[in-house]
Amino acid sequence: MEGVISWNDIVAGKEDAFRMLYDRYSDLLYGYGMKIKANETVVMDAIQSLFMNIFEKRRHLAAPNSMTAYLCRSLKNLLINEMQSATVRNTCELDESVSNNYDFDLEVDAESAIIANESDSEKYRVFQAELNKLSRQQREMLYLRYYKGLEVDEIAEVLSVSKRTVYNTTNNALSRLRENKVLARYFGETALLALLSIGRFYVFSI
């Protein structure tokens, strides 16, 4: 899918290539950005800056290995910079930890789902509670992997961690979700498969 957008066309400044780039990645970036900073104006400004930066600096940019990972990481940096400077503006003091100071809250949208009965409603509530108990990094990896479909090496690139860390953290998060009885029942048949794959992973990691 990425092969269709030619990096040479981007460097050449072709309008079609830029429109295609935006059409393909803006939804992904919007969803991801809104988890970092739940403010539509800020996220849209950041997406605008991101695409305009690419346009203006196109001649000096090297072709990225993964366009998805490159865009996600760039957007995240833009948002963190924006939050840092906003913090400095508002409080007049530098908080060094602000770069790690986003929550990456995942809010389950129960209203948009078709809720047939009380047990469905309960399931959503439990899933939300379990998500909240996970670490921020676990939530972010689960989101990128299962909601946005990024590959493990792309996630590693976005979060600046090793692929091993991505495997371990993600598997730990899934194990925790499965330990919940309500959710285990809900995931049902896939649970056995899951255990098998975890076993395979531990063999690998030893």
Partner: protein, 286 residues
Amino acid sequence: MDIERIDISKFPLKHEAFVRKNELGDKLAALRAVRRTTEMAAKRRRNRAWAWSGAGFAAAMVAFAVFLMQTVTITTAHEKQVVTLPCGSTVTVAENSRISYKPHAWNLLGRDIELDGSAYFSVNKGNTFTVNTDCGNVSVLGTEFEILEQPNAMTVKCHDGRVKVTASGDDGSSVVLDKGECVEVTKTEVSEPEQIAASEQNLSEDETEEESRIIEYNREPLMNVVSEIERCFEVTVKNKSLCSNLDYSGVFYTDDMDLTLEIVFSSCGFDYELIDENMIELKNIE
């Protein structure tokens, strides 16, 4: 190897739908269009800047050429004038003469000087020093010489070092003068070098009355001395041919003919007789 496949994306999340996607897409397209316009303008400005700097460079080159070709001309009237050239060589420009040269190109393009009239040159060692006249060119490396220009001819006298004289005509001949030689040049030919008349040696020096009165010869061909006697005292010497192949070393008093004849001819073994005011006859001593 992959992470286990559990489809948690069955649970929809909030803030996923990018409602204003098209709005931002259009805004980005408009910004890109503006940006492209400014980039093109900047490119045109850069090209103009290059064009201007090119023009500036060309103008600087022209100015430099004009600077190099700038000519200094010195014209004398009733007094001679000493001119020092950029290389330290000096030119004594005779009365009613003119020299011109290019001071800024002097060391860069060569030592070339135009002469109209007469001048005495004392040239420091260096590049070829060339004097161009109507009749021809005189070129040297470092020496002292003199150019006396007459209508349609000039006389070049080499006082020190060596001088090459070339007639200006298409197939102009050339000759090399050694120290103490002089030559007459017309536009088409260069005559055979001759010894400078002894009385004219060191002409440019400031001489005392005594020195200018007495000329000293050292192994000078006797024929030259006889010529000088004829010229100096306005006489004709008969049987001059007796003097060929003889040299004379001694003095010559330009203001005393009798004494001079006595000294020169007796020392060479000749007897002589004054036939009249303007005629002297040479004889071998019997």
